[in-house]
């Protein structure tokens, strides 16, 4: 077992680099692009929920803001997509920072309600500002990204583009989680009062991590807009916020690689349940229920425990901790 974080990361990078060769020519490359985007989003939410213990039911809004800012400014106003991407991330981060102060004073259900409200407001704005966003039927004509002579116009190129950014986000998140800040966040998670007594500026730190989370989400949104070349409000509604939450919980709270597993599972699973036709949704729901019942720590802890149990040959009387 590789315990060292650097080895883990290298193995992860290797996996990501191998996948395109394995999936050569398959439509699954396209699905993997979205797995990358969802991984970023899940990590963003995990930093907030899994580490700092602050729930958000409105993360689809940050994702949507990034996507729409990129979409509108490049498609309608013809601005440089890379500049817009950075500007959108900064803008969304600032917005999160500003609303973070009042919102993050709330706890538990109240915080969930406030973030939910924020998500719904943004969703309504996407729908109603028809002249700017194109309204419910969406905004098309968003250009693909270009870097010098390379235009990111195929699934494979987009795969590399999205995953390079995702790998950077993973690196950042892993380092952050393992730093003084990460430890402070976990302290806030366990007891905010205790953390403050120990000299952690809990209020500021919560807002900062909320803003960082929004920045990553916005970045994912910009990439989404340019790879899809189309955005519509339906992709950024409450349902998607809940789906993100599911990814984080199923993958494993407080684990960066867990977020990847959650995103991978929830994005790919529907593809492999298609043979069940009309019953796929039932099975999908059932599977999620079973997973959360038997792997409450998420896939990232549940799968190794399961494998260990299988390898030790289920010796009677022996219990394996999950």
């Amino acid at each position: 077992m590789i315990k060292h974080p650097l080895c883990k990361y290298t193995a992860f990078v290797a996996l990501i680099l191998i996948i395109p060769f394995v999936l050569k020519g398959s439509y699954l490359i396209n699905v993997m692009v979205f797995v990358g985007i969802n991984t970023m989003l899940a990590i963003a939410l995990n930093l907030l929920l899994g580490y700092a213990g602050q729930i958000s039911l409105g993360h689809a809004a940050f994702f949507g803001l990034g996507a729409y800012l990129s979409g509108v400014l490049t498609a309608t106003h013809g601005m440089n997509p890379w500049l817009v991407m950075v500007a959108a991330a900064v803008g969304v981060g600032l917005l999160a920072f500003v609303i973070g102060f009042p919102i993050l004073r709330l706890k538990g259900h109240y915080l969930a309600m406030a973030t939910l409200g924020f998500g719904i407001i943004v969703y309504i704005v996407f729908n109603e500002t028809v002249d700017i966003t194109g309204g419910p039927s969406g905004l098309s004509g968003i250009p693909n990204l270009k870097l010098g002579p390379v235009a990111f116009d195929s699934d494979l190129k987009n795969y590399y583009l999205v995953w390079i950014v995702t790998l950077l986000v993973v690196l950042l998140a892993v380092n952050l989680a393992d730093s003084r800040i990460g430890r402070s966040l976990r302290a806030i998670h366990d007891s905010e009062v205790a953390a403050r007594v120990m000299g952690v500026n809990a209020r500021l730190l919560k807002v900062q991590i909320f803003a960082l989370s929004a920045v990553i989400s916005s970045l994912a949104g910009s990439l989404y807009a340019h790879t899809m070349a189309f955005v519509a409000p339906a992709s950024f509604g409450f349902n998607f916020s809940v789906e993100l939450l599911t990814m984080v919980v199923i993958g494993g709270l407080g684990s960066i690689y867990g977020s990847f597993l959650g995103a991978l599972l929830l994005t790919l699973l529907p593809e492999f349940l298609r043979f069940l036709h009309d019953y796929d949704i039932v099975f999908y729901g059932l599977l999620l229920m079973v997973m959360i019942m038997f792997m409450p720590g998420g896939l990232v802890r549940g799968i190794p425990a399961l494998l260990r149990r299988m390898m030790t040959g289920r010796k009677k009387g022996e219990t394996v901790d999950a």
Binding site: M1, K8, V31, G138, S140, A229, A234, D280, V300, L307
Partner: protein, 379 residues
């Protein structure tokens, strides 16, 4: 946990990638319908109809001796999923043509992909943006909203009602209707004196209607899909609104009459001919197709065939015609689709040209009125 977990994942990825089959020569046609999710009311009848029609064609010996293999995927009404699935249809299933998706948003999301891959797409969504401007590989069967608006305005003009209030739902359908209602008003000498919207899930429209009652409007046009317009009809009756009320083709199904109950009486709306198929004169060129579709659908699914199913019926039959005339390669299908002339389908009589990939005229709609809980054609 690191590498062991990852290597298992990798093994899983390996196994999944080897799945592609080779079968007897068939014509593969892909279909993307939103069978579940918020647009299921579109996708379900579309899927049912497509499956039914393809079965019938295959039982009758296929097209030029080749059977059709229909590959249907459910998009959940989600543009992201539609994008993934259209890639699957093109790259994995290698289909010759695609029908669907059910909604305008999903259709817009996948246009780039079919254009790039060169696979003909016949969308079942109504949005005017899908075929305007014309895209080489994209066609559609659902009637443009502009034709429905024109039907209402013609009637209003004839009856000298020139001040209207419009009340539209704030989703893609209502948005498109609202744009068309405002854009075409001038042409018919009509002025929109009140312009309001309501949310798709609103349960009371009295405030908007009270405002409209106080305006100078001589007629109310409400643009939405179930259940909103039924609420409008009920509220209008409760408020004692005297002006004639028009609905859109978005509610031209029996379901609307059930929802609105007595309040539906006397409402007028433009509609495709499916719901009044049996009332049409035998001289109507669409009569034969319409009766075939309505009867078959009832026999198969014990339900009323509706417009949405009709869009899929048209899409499959247009493809059949194109393949019969040309070959079954994507390029041949596209070229022949564009040469479709006077095809009497469910949604109307289609004539595609290189400038028009929607193919329908004003005759696609008739104006109907609700009388005794049923439809009658307004002359």
């Amino acid at each position: 946990m690191g590498h062991r977990l990852l290597s298992y994942l990798l093994a899983a990825v390996f196994m999944l990638s080897g799945a592609s089959a080779f079968a007897a020569p068939t014509i593969k046609i892909g279909a993307l319908f939103s069978v579940t999710g918020p647009a299921a009311f579109l996708g379900e009848p579309e899927r049912n109809t497509a499956v039914m029609v393809v079965d019938q064609i295959n039982k009758a010996g296929g097209i030029k001796g080749k059977k059709i293999e229909l590959i249907v995927y459910d998009t959940n009404g989600d543009a992201t999923k539609a994008k993934q699935l259209v890639n699957k249809l093109i790259k994995n299933d290698k289909v010759s043509a695609i029908i669907g998706p059910s909604t305008t948003g999903e259709s817009m999301a996948i246009i780039n992909d079919v254009e790039k891959a060169g696979v003909p797409l016949i969308s079942c969504a109504a949005g005017i943006k899908i075929t305007e401007p014309v895209k080489k590989w994209v066609f559609k069967t659902a009637q443009n909203d502009s034709l429905a608006v024109a039907r209402i305005y013609e009637y209003l003009q004839k009856n000298r009602l020139n001040k209207v209030a419009i009340l539209t739902v704030s989703d893609g359908f209502g948005q498109s209707g609202r744009e068309q209602l405002k854009a075409q008003a001038k042409k018919y000498g009509i002025s929109v004196v009140s312009d309001d919207t309501y949310g798709p899930k609103d349960t009371d429209m009295s405030p908007q209607l009270t405002k409209i009652r106080g305006s100078k409007a001589q007629a109310l046009i409400c643009w939405g899909t179930n259940p909103g317009p039924a609420v409008v009809a009920k509220n209008a009756r409760q408020l004692g609104l005297k002006m004639p009320v028009f609905m859109s083709h978005g509610v031209s199904s029996k379901k609307f009459i059930q929802l609105a109950g007595d309040a539906a009486e006397g409402l007028k709306l433009p509609s495709g001919k499916v719901i009044v198929a049996d009332l049409l004169p035998a001289s109507d060129p669409q009569k034969k197709s319409l009766m075939a579709f309505v009867n078959d659908y009832k026999k198969h699914y014990r339900a009323e065939g509706d417009h949405f199913g009709g869009h899929a019926w048209d899409a499959v039959m247009l493809l059949k015609g194109a393949i019969e005339r040309g070959g079954d390669t994507p390029a041949a299908i596209r070229d022949q689709l564009e040469k479709t002339r006077q095809f009497h389908g469910i949604g109307g009589t289609f004539t595609f040209t290189s400038q028009d990939h929607a193919g329908l005229g004003k005759d696609a709609f008739v104006l109907v009125e609700v009388k005794n809980k049923d439809w009658v054609i307004v002359k």
